[in-house]
Every structure is written in structure tokens, then in C-alpha cells.
């Protein structure tokens, strides 16, 4: 058998239990997005790419929980989450519209050990919309370690205004693939293989994050058109439910 092996080869990613976090600050950098800076007491340090669960409880005990990727790198004093408000989003709508500094939120994390950059190997990061959030954590980690050369980044969105962390991504040299507006010499259009060709290098692991349709299209480009091995492509898809499971 020549089947690829998924997994960490016995290594375990850090995982933390429930904590009571306090919203230290927030802002709304995109029309539908909110960035939350959380103080999480006694937290377990995360790895870039991991996520947290946020759980909300109503007066009658009703609960709802969703997963959100961490944008901050390990070592930051606070945990930074970016949440995009979904249509009729029960949790995202609350976080985007109702939460104020000083509010208390139940959180659990870090979670996930697959969509994690080890901080050492070369990687190609491909994000769509708020799928760039875990990639931002990877970029900041590389910056903190003095190894920004390890990462190549492509970020896709309809417009620059709608792309979370657009300035930070552009400042780190990311290719911005905007489908509804020109970006320099790049004409409006979806992410293509031609966009990715200059970013591909031998030995890379690819990290693809975005909506199910974006992740499917982007991982197809990498495997079918650029010849990456499927086992070297790690995918995090999120749907209306948000989150990383099978």
C-alpha cells in the first residue's frame, strides 16, 4: 500500500479546557467582522493554526457554541479571535453586534492539531475571506521567530475592504487575489493557478482555509494544476456551522 498517512506521528498538539475569558478590547476592521482580544486566565499556549470554541449561555440555560481560529501568535499576552458575522449567525451575530469590552465569555482551547504550522518547515498559506485568520497567526509566528522567509501567502476576497487583515497580509508580501476589483496589475478575478505558481517552492506544506467551496477550489488548484501531493495539503473548511471537523 502506498496510502499517505495523515496525523502527527504521535506528537500531540496542546489542548486546553474551559476558561472564563474577559473581552479586553474589540474593533470592527471589516464591515461584517469583529476582532476580539481576550484575556484568558491560566490558558494553555496555542500553536499557530489552532482554534478556540466560544460558548454562550442564555438566561434559561440554553447554550450555543462555535469554533473560531486564533489570529494571535503563541506568546502574545491575549488571544485574538476574528469573527465574521454570518447571515442569521446565532453566535457570530452576538459576538459581532452585542459584545462589549469587559464582557465575560466561556472559551475552550486551544483545539486542533492538524491545521497547525510547526514554525520550522516552509509553507504555502492560502486563505479565502476570514479563512486568513489562522494564517495570520502563522505569519506573526514566523515574524516573531525571524523566519518570515519560510512562508508564502495568497489571500482571496471579493474586495480588499472585505478581506480581514488585508494591510497586514499585504505588508507581509501576500498575494491578494480580489475577485471584484483590480489589485495593482492584477485584474479582478478568482484565485488561479497562475497566481499561485510564483509562491510554490519545494518541500512546502500547504495550508488552505476558507469556505467549503473556496477550500475545494484552492486545494484542487494545488493538487491538480500545481502537482502538490494531496498529503502535503492541509485543509480547514468552514460552513455555516464554523469549525474543523470531518
Amino acid at each position: 500500500m502506498t496510502e499517505p498517512t495523515l496525523g502527527l506521528g504521535g506528537r500531540r498538539a496542546p489542548a486546553g479546557g474551559w476558561r472564563t475569558a474577559t473581552v479586553a478590547a474589540l474593533d470592527r476592521p471589516t464591515p461584517r467582522g469583529v476582532r476580539l482580544l481576550l484575556d484568558v486566565p491560566h490558558r494553555v499556549e496555542h500553536l499557530p493554526g489552532q482554534h478556540y470554541v466560544v460558548r454562550l449561555t442564555a438566561e434559561d440555560g440554553y447554550r450555543a457554541q462555535r469554533s473560531y481560529s486564533v489570529a494571535s501568535p503563541p506568546g502574545d499576552p491575549q488571544v485574538e479571535l476574528f469573527v465574521e458575522r454570518l447571515e442569521d449567525g446565532e453566535v457570530s451575530g452576538y459576538l459581532a453586534d452585542v459584545v462589549e469590552p469587559g464582557d465575560v465569555l466561556e472559551v475552550r482551547g486551544p483545539i486542533g492539531g492538524w491545521f497547525v504550522w510547526d514554525g520550522r518547515g516552509p509553507a504555502l498559506l492560502v486563505g479565502g475571506g476570514s479563512g486568513v485568520v489562522p494564517l495570520v497567526s502563522m505569519l506573526r509566528t514566523a515574524r516573531d521567530r525571524g523566519r518570515p522567509d519560510l512562508l508564502r501567502v495568497a489571500a482571496a476576497a471579493r474586495t480588499r475592504t472585505l478581506l480581514p487583515y488585508a494591510d497586514e497580509l499585504a505588508g507581509a508580501g501576500a498575494l491578494l487575489a480580489l475577485s471584484r476589483e483590480a489589485n495593482g496589475v492584477r485584474r479582478p478575478g478568482r484565485l488561479t493557478a497562475a497566481d499561485l505558481v510564483p509562491l510554490v517552492e519545494p518541500g512546502q506544506t500547504a495550508f488552505v482555509c476558507g469556505s467549503a467551496s473556496f477550500a475545494e477550489a484552492a486545494s484542487r488548484l494545488l493538487v491538480d494544476e500545481l502537482g502538490m501531493a494531496p498529503a502535503d495539503v492541509r485543509v480547514e473548511r468552514f460552513g455555516p456551522s464554523g469549525g474543523p471537523a470531518a
Binding site: A58, E90, Y94, P240
Partner: protein, 202 residues
Amino acid sequence: MAGPTRGFLGRRRERDPRLPPGQYDAGADWPVLTAEPTPRIAPETWSITVDGRVESPTTWSWDDVHRLPASEYRGDIHCVTTWSKFDTHFAGVSVDTLLEAARPTADAHFVMATAKTGYTTNLPLEDVTGGRAWLVWEFDGKPLPIEHGGPVRLLVPHLYFWKSAKWVTRLTLLQRDQQGFWEQNGYHDRGDPWREQRYQGD
């Protein structure tokens, strides 16, 4: 445990008794959530092998499994990312049928399901026996779409859906439990939605 979250009302709700705790009704949606690129698998190249702690390791081709007694599941499915989907209809073959042929040895207590992509997930043997697990190739009377695990996926609907390995190609019976892909990555070894066994330690 913390009290109520200030200002959180939640969806107006008449809680459907079919919803396990922390889940919501996804309605007609069926979100696609996988950790790897979707493979392309032609049915004629697909096969299922049952091996490990069994008397007679057996492999069935696509044509072989279609000659086995048909079995179907009608009911609900639950994803750990908090969506549930009601009244699904899957058709294929019962895992019991495969195990009857391969004959687990007395010391077989767990199963590792392996997908064509290398994805793995572990289950107690008792969770895939007694009419509670299937290999399925039809959804609502049509071929199972590849993004949902076609041509053939495992279906263990009483557990969170990451246990229902897409593109399944091997069931290995084990004496001792070993962790699969998501289980190594922090998710629960059993994954019972009614006990909200989402993560290790739940």
C-alpha cells in the same frame, strides 16, 4: 461553570427533541468539512478490506459489496461542529454483514476505519455491530457524492459524524484502542452526541 452570557438570547427555540445538546438543525444544508483535498476515486478501483483481529481477512470490490444483502438507514446525523441533519436516508450494507464473513476473534474489541486518503478514526467494536453501522453508497436514492465520502463511506449515525469515515477502504479490528486522526488531534475517542463527547476529556 460560568452563568449566563450578558445579552445573549439565542435563537427563538422550541427545542426539537431529536437535537442532542449543543446542536442545531441544519435544515436542508449538508456542510462539507474535511481536513484534506477531496480525492477522486473511481468505484471500480475502490475496495473494502476487513482485517486485523479476524479469522479470515476479506476484501470486497465495488461489485462484491453490491451482491451483499442491502441495508439502509433512515434517521438523523450529528456533526461535532454543532449541526444536525434530520431524516436522512442512506443505503448500502450493514457492517455486521462484513464482520460475519471476516469473523472477529474473541479478543477484538475496537475498530480502526481507514480512508483512501489515509484518514483514520477509531471506534469500539460494539458501536459498529448490532445494526448500528453501515457502509453506504447511496444518499436519498442517488449515488453518494464524492464530497460527502463517495463512492463509499462508513456510516455510524449514533456517533458524531467524524466517526463516519469518508472514502472508507479498510476496517481493522484491534485488541486495544488506538487513536485515529481527529482523536489524536484532541477529539473524543467515542463521540456520543447525546453525552456531548466532543473533545478528549468530555
